[in-house]
C-alpha cells in the first residue's frame, strides 16, 4: 500500500467523498502518521468494507471521517458539505446523521446508566421534536431484539451480543444516514456473530443505511460489503467492487491476506516476510516493499499511484498480480 492519488474516486455526487486525508498522532516516540493520504468515496446505500491488520489505520480512517479527531489535512465531503471546514457547532448538528458502533460491547455502554437512558441519549440531546417519540424507541428496542421490559437494567446484566444490540439501537435512535461499524462482531461468541451480522443486514434495509464496515475478518467483509478497501500501514493498497477484488486480488498484500484466512480453502503461496514496520518510521516508496515477494528497486523509492485493474477495481502497486487466487 502504498498508494496515493484520487484515481479510484467515482465522481463528486456521492454521499461521502474523502480526499487526501492525513491523520497524525503525537506519541512519546514522535509523530505517527496513522493515515497517509487516503481517498475514498461511498455511494448512498452502499456498504464499504475496510480491511487490514492491526495498525493499518482502518479505524482511524473511519473516525477521522467523522472528525474524531479531525484529520490533519484533506477534505471530507458529506452531503455537499466539507466536515473539515464547517464550524464546531455545525459539525455537532451534523452528527446525528453519522453514527458508529464499536468492537467492545462492554466498553461501548456506560456501566452506570440504564439501557433506556443509553438508547434515549440521542433523543435526550436533540429533543423528541422530530420523528422520535418514546413509543418509537420502544419499537426500535424490539427491532434490535431487546425486550423493552428490561429497559431499566444496566449493561452488565446483559451478554456481549445483547450489549451490541443496545449499541446498535442507540446509534439508530437518531435515524442516521451513515453507520460506521468498527469490528462489530469480533468480540462476540462465534454462535452469536451471525445474529448480529443478520441484524445489521436487516436494519440496513429497514433504515436505508449507508455503511462503513471495518473488520480484519475477510470472510465477514466479503459477506457484507459492496465495495472493499484494503489498507496497509496507513495507506490504501487496493479498492474496488467486492466480487472483483476477492476473485482477482491484484495487490500482493491482498493476496497474502486472503491466503492467511484459516481454513477458507484459499490456496495461494503468497506469504509475508518479516514484521510490520514501525509506523513511526514507515518505509520509503511503497510501504509494503519490505515484506513483498515481488519487490523491485522502483518499489523502494517511488510511491505507487493507483492503476485501474478492472471496471471498478483499483490497485496501488508497481507490480500488480494477475494470477487469480484459487478458491477451492
Amino acid at each position: 500500500m502504498v498508494g496515493v492519488g484520487t484515481a479510484p474516486l467515482r465522481g463528486d455526487d456521492l454521499l461521502i467523498r474523502v480526499e487526501n486525508m492525513v491523520v497524525e498522532f503525537n506519541t512519546s516516540g514522535g509523530t505517527v502518521q496513522a493515515v497517509s493520504d487516503v481517498s475514498f468515496d461511498v455511494a448512498e446505500g452502499e456498504t464499504l468494507g475496510i480491511v487490514g491488520e492491526s495498525g493499518c489505520g482502518k479505524s482511524t480512517t473511519a473516525k477521522a471521517m467523522i472528525q474524531l479527531p479531525p484529520p490533519k489535512s484533506g477534505s471530507v465531503m458529506y452531503a455537499d458539505r466539507d466536515l473539515t471546514e464547517i464550524s464546531k457547532e455545525e459539525l455537532r448538528r451534523s452528527r446525528a446523521d453519522l453514527q458508529m458502533i464499536f468492537q467492545d460491547p462492554i466498553s461501548s455502554l456506560n456501566p452506570r446508566r440504564t439501557v433506556w437512558d443509553i438508547i434515549r441519549e440521542g433523543v435526550d440531546i436533540w429533543g423528541t421534536a422530530g420523528v422520535w417519540s418514546d413509543a418509537r424507541l420502544v419499537e426500535l428496542m424490539e427491532q434490535v431484539g431487546i425486550d423493552p421490559q428490561y429497559r431499566d437494567r444496566k449493561a452488565y446484566q446483559f451478554s456481549g451480543g445483547q450489549c451490541q444490540r443496545i449499541s446498535i439501537a442507540r446509534a439508530l435512535a437518531l435515524d442516521p444516514k451513515v453507520l460506521i461499524s468498527d469490528e462489530p462482531v469480533s468480540a462476540l461468541d462465534v454462535s452469536v456473530q451471525a445474529q448480529i451480522l443478520n441484524l445489521l443486514d436487516d436494519l440496513k434495509t429497514q433504515h436505508a443505511l449507508t455503511m462503513l464496515f471495518i473488520s480484519h475478518d475477510l470472510a465477514v467483509v466479503r459477506n457484507v460489503s459492496d465495495r472493499v478497501m484494503v489498507m496497509y500501514l496507513g495507506r490504501v493498497a487496493e479498492v474496488g467492487d467486492a466480487d472483483a477484488l476477492f476473485a482477482n486480488p491484484a495487490h500482493p498484500y491482498t493476496q497474502a491476506l486472503l491466503a492467511a484466512v484459516p481454513g477458507s480453502g484459499v490456496n495461494a503461496s503468497a506469504r509475508l516476510e518479516g514484521e510490520l514496520p514501525s509506523p513511526l518510521d514507515p518505509p520509503e516508496g511503497c510501504r509494503f516493499h519490505t515484506r513483498c515477494p515481488h519487490v523491485t528497486e522502483v518499489c523502494k523509492t517511488t510511491v505507487p499511484e493507483f492503476t485501474q485493474h478492472g471496471p471498478d477495481h483499483w490497485v496501488a502497486c508497481h507490480h500488480p498480480q494477475s494470477t487469480p487466487v484459487e478458491i477451492r
Binding site: V190, Q193, N223, D226, L257, A260, P262, S264, L272, I327
Partner: protein, 333 residues
Amino acid sequence: MAPLLELDDVSVTFNTPKGPVYAVNNVNLSVERGQALGIVGESGSGKSVTMKTVMGLLPRTATIGGSVTYDGLDVFDLPSDRRKHFYGVDVAMIFQNPMTSLNPVKRISAQLTEGMKYHDGLSSSAADDKALELLELVRIPDPKKRMKQYPHELSGGMRQRVVIAMALANDPSLLIADEPTTALDVTVQRDILDLLDQLKAERDMAMILITHDLGVVKDRTDEIAVMYGGRLMEAATTGEVFADTAHPYTEALQRSIPDMTMERGTRLTPIEGSPPDLSIKPTGCPFAPRCGYATPECSTAIPDRMPVPGSTTHVFACHHPRGSAGAVQEVNA
C-alpha cells in the same frame, strides 16, 4: 498402544458464592503420541477449563471428578518428584496472551535460560547457547538481537514465538496451546500455526490446540473435539467432522460463520438464543434450547455418547444426529 493423554469422565464444578457452576461435565478425550487434537468451543464451552484440569491450574474452589492418565500414570495422584517433571517437562502449555507467560522486566535471554540453569544445572554460556538454538527453532527473525530485548520491544507474533520456545525448552511430549493465535493478526496467525505444525512433526510431539474457530483446526489437526456448555458434543477425525457432521451444534457452527466461498450477501443461518447458564445443572442436552431439531426428549434426557455406525473414531452425543448417524437412526426407526 495406550494414548499419551486420556481423560475419562472428567467433570469440573466451581463452587462460587452464587452457587455451583458446572463448567465441565463427563468429558472423555484422548491424544495419541505425535497427534494433534483440536478442541473447538466458544466461551463457556469448558474447553479451556478441561485443559487447565490436566495442567493442575484450577483454583481451589474447583471440584474435579473423573480421571486423567498420562502415559499410564494417574495425573491427579502423581508422586511429588514425578509431578514436577510432568508439568513443564512432559507437558507444556501456552496461552492466548503471551504476556501472561513473560516477565515484562526481564530480557528474553533471561526468561529462556532461567529454567535451564535452575533445573538442568547448565552454565550461563551453555544456557545461552541453548536459548539461542530455541529461538532459531521457532524461526524468530534475528534471534541474537532478540536475546537482549525485553518483551515489550517485540511484536505480538514474536512474543508468542518466544513463549513457544520457552515451552519447548524441556522437549515436552505434549504441548497444549490455548487460543495461541486469537490475539494475533491473520497473517501472523498463519505463521504461528504453521510453526506449531512443523514443530509437532519435527519433534514427534502431541499437540492439543484449543480454539473457538473451526477454521483454525480444519487443515491442521488429526482429530477434533467439539464442546458446548461443558459437554463433549462430537469427537472424530478432522475429515469426519467436516464430511459427516453428526451433531447439530457442529453443523450450526459451520453454517453460521461466513466463509470465503460464500456468495457476497449470503444470508447467514444464525444460532438463535444464547449459550447456556452453567450454574443450572443440566437435565438434557445443553444445546437443546437453541437446536433446530430438538424434541421434548432433548431437554429431559442427557444424550449418551455413541459411535457413528461404521466408524471407530467418530462419537457424538445427540438424540437426533445428522449425517450418516442420523440416516442409520432413521432406518432403524
